[in-house]
């Protein structure tokens, strides 16, 4: 396949960026999207131009490191697929492909297609955990968990933290990420003792960095793990209920 790429190049966080056009010729339809970029980089290196910087690691769709806008779609045209799992057979010979980094004020460009997603870590640090020290756990089968709840928690926990949801959102909201991280824990009995304080802490930290959700649903459509916006509704419910709690007297009850 012969393709024309328009790629965002930006030398650093404060540098001015712009699109550059590259020809990618002789691309195998069996290649993954990132392998196609590898080949372009190989040729750039030969020609004396610095390779395109992009984040990637496991190339199995699980680490969440990769992700670029491909023709305006986070992770490209295939549903439920991270950039690394997208293969060139989904494109046609002669196609023009526009490749950009995620766009969000909260996640500035570091270089070329790489952005800084560290606000996600701040949201988790605010309360996206269960407080338990190593060694203090009871027997794992002491608490029974309905299979449905465990399965639902697992659905939420599948989030890979790639930030496609933020990139897809017209408001740059991080509600799908935050909801997935929160409901993973709030759905489980182990998560109950901190359920509502967690909701408040994570939502307020999220709001310090990101825009507000106005229910466009673009995040769900872009999510490579097909995480449902139901979790956003559940997060909102927990957050609202938290406003009526007397934590000091009644805990999370």
């Amino acid at each position: 396949m012969d393709l024309t790429l328009k790629v965002w190049r930006q030398a650093g966080p404060d540098a001015e960026g712009g699109f550059k056009t590259y020809e990618a010729n002789g691309v195998s339809p069996e290649a993954s999207f990132l392998e196609m970029l590898d080949q372009v980089n190989e040729k750039l290196n030969e020609a004396g131009e610095e390779p395109i910087a992009f984040d990637h690691d496991c190339r199995e769709g699980i680490c969440g490191m990769c992700g670029v806008m491909i023709n305006g779609h986070p992770h490209g045209p295939q549903d439920g697929t991270a950039t690394c799992q997208l293969h060139m057979r989904k494109f046609s010979d002669g196609d023009s492909i526009v490749i950009e980094p995620w766009r969000s004020t909260a996640m500035p460009v570091v270089r070329d297609l790489i952005v800084d997603r560290s606000p996600f870590d701040r949201i988790v640090e605010a309360g996206g955990f269960i407080t338990i020290n190593t060694g203090a756990a009871p027997d794992a089968n002491m608490t029974r968990i309905p299979k449905e709840a465990a399965d639902s928690a697992m659905d939420a926990a599948s989030c890979i933290g790639c930030a496609a949801c933020v990139a897809a959102c017209p408001n740059s909201a991080a509600n799908l990420f935050t909801a997935a991280k929160m409901q993973h824990l709030n759905l489980l009995p182990q998560g109950q003792p901190e359920r509502y304080t967690r909701a408040v802490a994570m939502v307020e930290t999220m709001e310090a960095y990101f825009g507000s959700c106005t229910n466009h649903g673009e995040c769900e459509a872009a999510c490579p793990k097909n995480i449902s916006i139901d979790f956003i509704a559940m997060m909102n419910r927990d957050y609202v209920k938290a406003q009526f709690k007397n934590f000091a007297r009644a805990g999370q009850a």
Binding site: N45, D116, D121, V124, T134, G135, A140, N141, A150, M154
Partner: protein, 649 residues
């Protein structure tokens, strides 16, 4: 029973500090015997943890909870991305919830035997002992393990185990366990006990008066090279399968941290013990950048076969039952498709080498779910393996519900690593190695679902209990200042090396050299190894290394984010490690586990171990790049599991 002959007296450099007494009591006795740091004094200590995968994140979080001051480093943008996240199948523990006869002793026994009698009994026993606490801990953290309808935890049999002892979270167990550790770590970051440095790559260990006092780190965004000092340094930096270029490891996985430590005096143990995993998706073309693993759990329900006639080119579904060779079921009737990884990989390789492979490049064998779907229904198969089937379909464009998968063996895990004693300390005092970075628990072959267990055992339970023994000697001493000459010199050396990469100005990319190295290694130091091939490989590696240092092209500068520069350092280290792997494989004149020397096999092609001469750990000492490394031996004795020929027939 006859005890294996001790092949050599232990090298004085290798005091494994294995406790005395009955094996069941050793860990408890040891915890009582080691020195502790009292709770009020822990805050006086600094500990550096490099790597935030399962072992590193769990260790850093636990140190923080205990009150130590921790600095954790990862080259990723977040502590949640390490390659532990890609582990699919599960984690073993001796809970015996299914009431099928499992016990700590059986997990210990299976692991020693599965490792082909090249692991330390005491370490393995401890691993089996703490396995149950890992399940308790991670469940309490909210890891959503699979459950039965009654709400209790589900178990499955995995990788040839004859009991169901594997806990799993769909096909994403590594992801969920890593998130658990990442959550625990995040809690400590918020509490201020752990200072987390992301996009920071360790480029050297700093040693003063023979002990580890800190590290040198490059900020991958700004290019700034800085020193960090501490009372102890923990390396949790994973394995080195990427020496083969094509492997199931993530692209950035590398050996730089352990190799830099090795060059500073940490002995490297059993470098030739590498694992080739039998169920990966075959390469489709020469531009392939990595191989994708399909969880071993698939072998629970899939049947492996090839056409009886190697020239049979019909589509798989058109080949009738009686013209198929279910070769594992035929050769190993007792274990069938569930033989351990090394056995399954070699059997597939034999068939492919003889021209019996399937697929367009004839580089695979079939893994067929038709009979499982018929027996259990598509829904059950989808529930068990849905995400794996989907991943397979994404990559190959074939639907495994309809046509058999094609699989191929690929480098996956390295049992070798830095030599550590029972406390997980390397031969450099104050320098520890945990998880895949050390060599200690898996011998010559790792069993499925045991890597997650070992990483978390080391990080949550073993190291936090043993590190005090060393630290207590340094109470009320400040860490060595980063102004000290040892740090200044180390930073200068790192900067000089970086400048060297940029100054070569040759014609070839880093990937070119990595790919060439991979070809040499997979051909000569992969599934089957011979004296002739290994000697050839060593001379080819030396030639490639010389070419690397004269013809490498790294563009750009060291003052900003430069991914070619990052890779150059990693490949430069692989080019040295590869030679040591071949040297170790040459020296080990036997076949055991993942190490198969063609000169040492039985008449029917099985591995032939030599307990008379090789029942030891080989630990190598760095001299300099032009001098062969010096071999030290730690004899292995087996008091509880008498060495036997592994038989899965």
């Amino acid at each position: 029973m006859e005890e294996a002959a001790v092949t050599d007296t232990a090298s004085p450099k290798l005091d494994a500090r294995i406790p005395d007494g009955p094996i069941q009591d050793r860990w408890d006795n040891h915890k009582f015997d080691v020195n502790l740091v009292n709770p009020a004094n822990k805050r006086k200590y600094e500990i550096i943890v490099v790597g935030t995968g399962l072992a590193g994140a769990s260790a850093a979080a636990t140190f923080g909870e205990l009150g130590y001051n921790v600095k954790a480093f990862t080259y990723h943008d977040s502590a949640r991305r390490a390659h532990s996240i890609a582990a699919q199948g599960g984690i073993n523990a001796a809970k015996n919830y299914p009431n099928d006869g499992d016990s700590i002793y059986r997990l210990f026994y299976d692991t020693v035997k599965g490792g082909d009698f090249r692991a330390r009994e005491s370490n393995v026993y401890r691993l089996a002992q703490v396995s149950n606490a890992i399940i308790d801990q991670t469940t309490a953290q909210g890891v959503p393990f699979a459950r039965e309808y009654g709400g209790l935890l589900d178990n499955r049999s995995f990788g040839g185990a004859q009991v169901s002892r594997t806990f799993y979270a769909r096909g994403q167990t590594g992801q969920q366990l890593l998130l658990g550790a990442y959550h625990a770590l995040s809690r400590q970051v918020a509490a201020g006990t752990v200072e987390l440095h992301t996009r920071s790559e360790m480029l050297d260990v700093v040693v003063k008066d023979g002990r580890a006092v800190g590290i040198v780190v490059r900020d991958l965004v700004t290019g700034e090279v800085a020193s960090h000092s501490a009372h102890a340094v923990v390396l949790a930096t994973g394995g080195y399968s990427n020496v083969f270029f094509l492997s199931t490891n993530a692209m950035a996985c590398n050996a730089t941290a352990v190799w830099r430590a090795h060059r500073k005096g940490a002995l490297f143990a059993n470098p030739c013990f590498t694992q080739i995993h039998p169920t990966c998706i075959p390469a489709s073309d020469e531009f392939q950048s990595k191989l994708t693993l399909m969880s071993e759990s698939l072998r629970n329900d899939g049947r492996i076969w090839v056409p009886l006639d190697p020239d049979d080119r019909r589509p798989a579904n058109d080949i009738p039952e009686d013209e198929r060779d279910y070769y594992l079921e035929r050769q190993y009737p007792a274990f069938g498709n569930l033989v351990p990884r090394d056995v399954a990989s070699r059997a597939a390789m034999r068939i492919i080498d003889q021209g019996g492979g399937v697929g367009p490049l004839r580089n695979g064998v079939y893994l067929d779910f038709a009979s499982a779907i018929e027996r259990l229904g598509k829904n059950t198969i989808e529930e068990r393996y849905g995400n794996l089937f989907e991943m397979y379909e994404r990559i190959t464009d074939e639907d495994p519900y309809e046509v058999p998968m094609r699989i191929y063996p690929a480098p996956h895990y390295t049992m070798g690593g830095l030599w550590v004693d029972y406390n997980l300390m390397t031969t450099v005092p104050g320098l520890y190695a945990v998880g895949e970075a050390n060599f200690s628990d898996h011998g010559a072959n790792r069993l499925g679902a045991s890597a997650l267990m070992q990483g978390l055992a080391d990080g949550y339970f073993v190291l936090p209990a043993t590190i005090g023994d060393y630290l207590s000697d340094w109470l009320n001493t400040e860490p060595v200042s980063t102004e000290d000459d040892v740090f200044v010199d180390a930073v200068a050396a790192v900067n000089e090396r970086t400048e060297q990469f940029l100054a070569i100005g040759g014609t070839r990319s880093v990937d070119h050299f990595h790919r060439e190295l991979g070809k040499i290694m997979i051909e000569n130091c992969g599934l089957a190894r011979s004296r002739e091939g290994l000697e050839k490989a060593i001379s080819e590696i030396k030639a490639l290394r010389a070419e690397f240092w004269s013809d490498l092209r790294v563009l750009g500068t060291a003052e900003n984010l430069n991914q070619s520069l990052e890779r150059a350092g990693r490949v430069a280290d692989f080019l040295e490690l590869a030679e040591l792997m071949c040297l170790d494989a040459l020296d080990r004149e036997e076949s055991c586990g993942g190490h198969f020397r063609v000169e040492h096999q039985t008449e029917d092609g099985e591995a032939r171990r030599d307990d008379e001469n090789f029942s030891h750990v080989s630990a190598w000492e760095w001299i300099d790049v032009d001098t062969p490394q010096e071999l030290h031996r730690e004899p292995l004795t087996f008091e509880y599991v008498p060495p036997s020929q592994r038989s899965y027939k």
